[in-house]
């Protein structure tokens, strides 16, 4: 029966078409993760070996000063970046949503940084924040000779300059997501609040923001994953300096893998990053799947 053979051939083809994805999943995503976790449990230095040392690499990681700085930086950067981007992005979306003129132009202006790489972003801000040529020099020449804005060369402040650049890069993305959410809100809700005579700020605070929960969650997860991946920006803007003041975990891993030749420590750091991501993403995924299941029910 040719039809049946034809069908079997198609089923086979479907399985075949999925084999690259399956291969990538098993070999790259699962296999490489397992390999990395395994190396982190050995005493590997320049070359991998299979001397099992338990969690000793993790212990020396926790005691490593540069790692401590990296983790602290990530926490500071991550929380400030998340809050600032979400707040600025939301405010921009709300402002644009007020039937303003030149909406398209404004949207393009707020979103264009997101199209550029972190390398470009980092280099531009490095230039703007350069104390001898950039903003500090400009304000001084303007008639404020004692003005100081040298954060990028100060160990205690440099991490905030990274936040600055990253918010500039990503706030437009939040705006786009929020604007889509705002435009999805039913016109009747606005009518109802107008009839009730609620002041606009109350409407936004107690009706609109809760309704945008999904948009906030999407934006937050998106930004949070880029926080853990933070690497290019630190490399381009400060190269981790001054000293180790703007080091981040991803850079710690890369440097220990390829420059310092300490595989055990690098993979222990990478595994710690994985655990952090899992702690952030897992609750969101559970929440998402519950939501979709409810929507389908």
């Amino acid at each position: 029966m040719p039809l049946v053979r034809h069908r079997t051939a198609s089923r086979l083809a479907a399985g075949l078409a999925l084999s690259p994805a399956l291969l990538v999943l098993v070999v790259v995503y699962l296999g490489c993760t397992a390999w990395t976790v395994w190396i982190s449990l050995t005493s590997s230095r320049m070359l991998p070996n299979s001397t099992f040392v338990g969690l000793r690499q993790y212990a020396s990681l926790m005691g490593n000063e540069r790692w401590q700085v990296s983790v602290a930086n990530l926490a500071v950067f991550g929380s400030l970046f998340l809050i600032a981007s979400l707040a600025l992005g939301f405010l921009l979306a709300v402002a644009i949503d007020q039937r303003v003129r030149a909406e398209n132009t404004l949207r393009s202006i707020f979103l264009y940084p997101y199209s550029m790489s972190f390398i470009v972003t980092g280099l531009v801000w490095q230039w703007l924040l350069n104390p001898s040529f950039g903003i500090e020099k400009m304000v001084r020449d303007f008639g404020f000779p004692s003005f100081r804005f040298d954060w990028i060369v100060r160990q205690d402040m440099v991490i905030y300059t990274l936040v600055f650049a990253a918010v500039w890069h990503a706030a437009g993305l939040v705006m786009a997501i929020m604007l889509a959410g705002l435009r999805g809100i039913d016109e009747d809700i606005w009518k109802a609040t107008r009839i009730d005579g609620l002041p606009p700020w109350r409407v936004y605070l107690s009706i609109v923001i809760p309704m945008l929960g999904a948009s906030f969650a999407t934006a937050a997860v998106l930004l949070a994953t880029s926080v853990v991946r933070l690497y290019d920006l630190s490399v381009a803007m400060t190269n981790g300096g001054p000293g180790v003041a703007s080091e981040v975990p991803a850079k710690f891993v890369m440097d220990h893998l390829f420059e310092r030749g300490n595989l055990g420590l690098a993979t222990a750091a990478a595994t710690s990053m994985l655990i952090t991501v899992a702690a952030v993403v897992a609750p969101w995924l559970v929440w998402q799947s519950r939501r979709t299941r409810r929507a389908h029910a």
């Binding site: 997101y114 531009v124 990478a270």
Partner: protein, 302 residues
């Protein structure tokens, strides 16, 4: 699943309250928008004017001032004579490398992603749901986890430090997003379409090529936008997998700017920076709302 559908009606009509006349509140809104817009535009403006100034003017320090004696020399130098280490061939080398990496990577990642998405949405393959779910989860994992084993595997296979290697890497790491994009799109198409094609006797690849892919033109556009900007802007993968001879433009730019000895030519640096940003900026301004659609679709996982 339905996420794209709920996000894409995106920019229809403003929903905010209808304005009366020019109230103080509206002036405040405009002031906020204009000030923020200036803050967002300032870096681009400063890059541009710096790149057109001779070094003597830059040493004076007025970063916001227009160039008094505008010159294109920094651009020429950035393109064809800027130095990375000992070689002074300009950023054009990186541009050529990036193009060589970009074109096959975009084609390969979209081809694999669309085929996977199609197979996952119409064909009842056992374990398909599990495969899809797993792909969505691993999309969040930072690259640092995979990099060392991948370098070893690639070195073993003899494709480390080659265009083929970096193309393969971009295809691998583009797979989750591309699959998600196409699976969601195909899932939103009517099942009858697929059934009719099957009744007509079309097989797996025939349906994909002549029915589904033409229907998926909007998603193809979104995927191209997403992959072109994403791959062009990549730094870490190119740095590790492309090899010294094929370093992409972003890596070369960083080398030019951050490893210069002696006095830095800021005007050349800024010209090189703009040149590197030009491709994604062109994609962004040419694609308009498609870009937003792209990030919204790529953003919503699951």
């Amino acid at each position: 699943m339905t996420a794209i559908a709920t996000i894409t009606p995106a920019i229809t009509q403003p929903a905010g309250m209808r304005p009366r006349r020019l109230t103080p509140a509206r002036i405040g809104i405009y002031a906020f928008l204009i000030v923020t817009a200036l803050f967002f535009l300032a870096p681009l403006y400063v890059m541009l004017v710096t790149s057109l100034k001779p070094m003597e003017e830059i040493r004076l320090g007025a970063i916001l001032a227009l160039p008094r004696a505008p010159t294109l020399e920094p651009w020429v130098k950035a393109w064809s004579a800027a130095c990375t280490g000992l070689r002074c061939d300009g950023i054009s080398v990186g541009f050529a490398n990036s193009v060589k990496i970009l074109v096959p990577s975009v084609v390969a990642s979209i081809a694999v992603g669309s085929l996977t998405g199609y197979a996952l949405s119409f064909w009842k393959v056992r374990g398909a749901g599990l495969l899809f779910g797993a792909l969505m989860i691993v999309a969040f994992v930072p690259y640092q986890i995979f990099i060392y084993p991948l370098v070893r595997v690639f070195a073993f296979a003899g494709i480390n430090n080659s265009i083929l290697g970096i193309v393969l890497i971009h295809t691998i790491f583009g797979l989750p997003t591309m699959t998600l994009l196409f699976r969601n799109y195909f899932a939103s198409l009517p099942q009858e379409l697929f059934k009719a094609a099957r009744v007509d006797g079309a097989g797996f690849f025939r349906i994909f090529w002549s029915v589904m892919l033409p229907m998926a033109t909007p998603m193809l556009i979104v995927a191209v936008i997403l992959q072109v900007t994403g791959i062009w802007n990549d730094f870490i993968l190119g740095l590790i997998f492309a090899g010294r001879e094929n370093l992409p433009m972003t890596v070369q730019l960083n080398n030019i700017v951050n490893s210069t000895q002696g006095e830095r030519a800021y005007n050349v640096d800024m010209a090189a920076t703009i040149l590197t940003a030009l491709v994604p900026l062109a994609v962004y301004f040419a694609s308009g709302r498609w870009f937003v659609r792209g990030i919204a679709a790529g953003a919503v996982k699951g």
